[in-house]
């Protein structure tokens, strides 16, 4: 369990950033994952007093504060209206409501966890992260970056007209996913992200005309990723599941298109 000596509730992002430049400091978001780590730190910097716990909707985008909880994502009317069922589906199996009342969107994204449902989901959308010093960059680019001591302030999801669906498989209902897939679609393109392979989620973009049928397209998408083996399943099994889930998501999106 994490131990630390000083708790500082940051009064500004500048203060949080400066405190976080020391290796002995750590940013505390929901503290669900951080808490179970065996680490000793000097200072825990709490962002909960900075008003980053809301979801703002504009004509162009959703702006999600880093301290917004997964439960807020799950039940937000605007998000659920624009992306029907997507956030509900990607959050509902994450432990329980009490957990989702604590875990934050910022913590999930900044951590870039291999098991993350949230990262997988947002990666298939036109998502950007707003870093305090690093500015606004695409989520995909952020995923490829090494960890640094910047602070994730907000997540921005553009309303670019994509329709998206999510599916995951679990050994038991509230366990980490065995595989997590999210597919979004525009008229010509599919954006496929796959997480829990068990590595962190990655994205591939394929044109609808690249293959003759949905099965072939799904196989093509699944081929873009590397799969690993752990106690939940083998890499081979994960790849097979990816082909199946991605095909199902393609089919469901086609049905929606009519």
């Amino acid at each position: 369990m994490i131990k630390f000596k000083n708790y500082v509730k940051a009064e500004s992002l500048e203060e949080a950033y400066n405190l976080n430049q020391k290796k002995s400091s750590v940013i505390g978001a929901g503290m669900m994952w951080l808490k179970v780590q065996s680490r000793i730190k000097m200072t825990l910097v709490d962002l909960s007093g900075l008003g980053l716990d809301g979801i703002e909707e504009t004509d162009e985008e959703f702006v999600i504060g880093a301290m917004c909880t997964l439960r807020q994502l799950e039940i937000h009317e605007g998000l659920n209206e624009y992306f029907p069922g997507l956030f509900k589906e990607c959050t509902r199996s994450i432990v329980g409501v009490q957990f989702r009342n604590g875990a934050t969107a910022g913590g999930s994204i900044f951590g870039r966890f291999g098991f993350s449902d949230i990262l997988t989901c947002m990666l298939a959308l036109d998502t950007y992260v707003e870093l305090y010093k690093g500015g606004i960059i695409p989520l995909e680019e952020f995923c490829r970056q090494k960890f640094n001591r910047d602070i994730l302030v907000r997540i921005r999801i553009k309303k670019d007209g994509r329709r998206a669906l999510y599916a995951s498989s679990r050994m038991t209902k509230t366990d980490f996913p065995l595989i997590a897939c999210c597919v979004s679609a525009t008229d010509e393109t599919y954006y496929v992200s796959v997480g829990a392979r068990p590595g962190k989620a990655e994205l591939t973009v394929i044109k609808r005309k690249e293959a003759s049928g949905l099965k072939e397209l799904a196989e093509l998408a699944a081929d873009h990723f590397h799969y690993g083996t752990n106690q939940r399943g083998s890499g081979e099994y994960r790849k097979h599941l990816t082909e199946v889930y991605v095909k199902r998501l393609f089919m469901a999106l086609e049905r929606e298109e009519g």
Binding site: M1, I2, K3, F4, K5, N6, Y7, K9, G28, M31, M32, K35, V36, L44, D46, S48, R92, S93, V95, G96, V97, Q98, F99, N101, G102, K173, T174
Partner: protein
């Protein structure tokens, strides 16, 4: 550091270490209904309400409870007794260790949801583990508890 918060309706001033969890503070204050089963945020035994929202006190820093309203089972005795009677009637308790956390989450659910379809209820309570009951008795008790108003009207 010193924090000030409301615990079951009582204003509390308390000295806490910077990395103490709310769970440990509540136990120190005599709220023994709050249990710690897993310490990995999976079991729901440590559920309390913070500003009306169900939270896992084992992963909630006591320092963050400053200026908050915290409610444990000790603060909702009447509601707990009422729901507890439904649990007893359905034979839904064995060791009873998980009941305080379950009751707190059921009370939070009752306030938060506007309808109680079975799947919705099961999903809401998925974070409350029970190692002895197998959940069926608990679910029957929850269903009957949530529809108790309707039954009264029928009578």
């Amino acid at each position: 550091m010193q924090i000030e918060f409301t615990l079951n309706g009582r204003l509390i001033y308390e000295e806490t270490s910077d990395d103490e969890t709310l769970f440990h503070l509540l136990r120190r204050k005599g709220c023994y209904s709050v249990k710690c089963g897993c310490e990995t945020e999976n079991c729901g035994l440590c559920t309390v309400l913070v500003n009306g929202v169900s939270r896992l006190s084992c992963s909630y820093l006591a320092a963050r409870a400053d200026d908050c309203d915290v409610v444990t089972l000790e603060g909702v005795q009447k509601e707990a007794e009422e729901f507890g009677s439904f649990l007893a009637a359905e034979g839904a308790e064995q060791c009873g260790f998980c009941s305080p956390g379950l009751i707190m989450n059921v009370l939070a659910m009752e306030k938060e949801l506007d309808s109680y379809e079975k799947e919705k209820v099961k999903e809401y309570l998925a974070g409350n583990l029970c190692r002895c009951s197998g959940y069926m008795g608990q679910l029957r008790a929850v269903e009957k508890y949530l529809s108790r108003g309707e039954n009264r009207n029928e009578c």
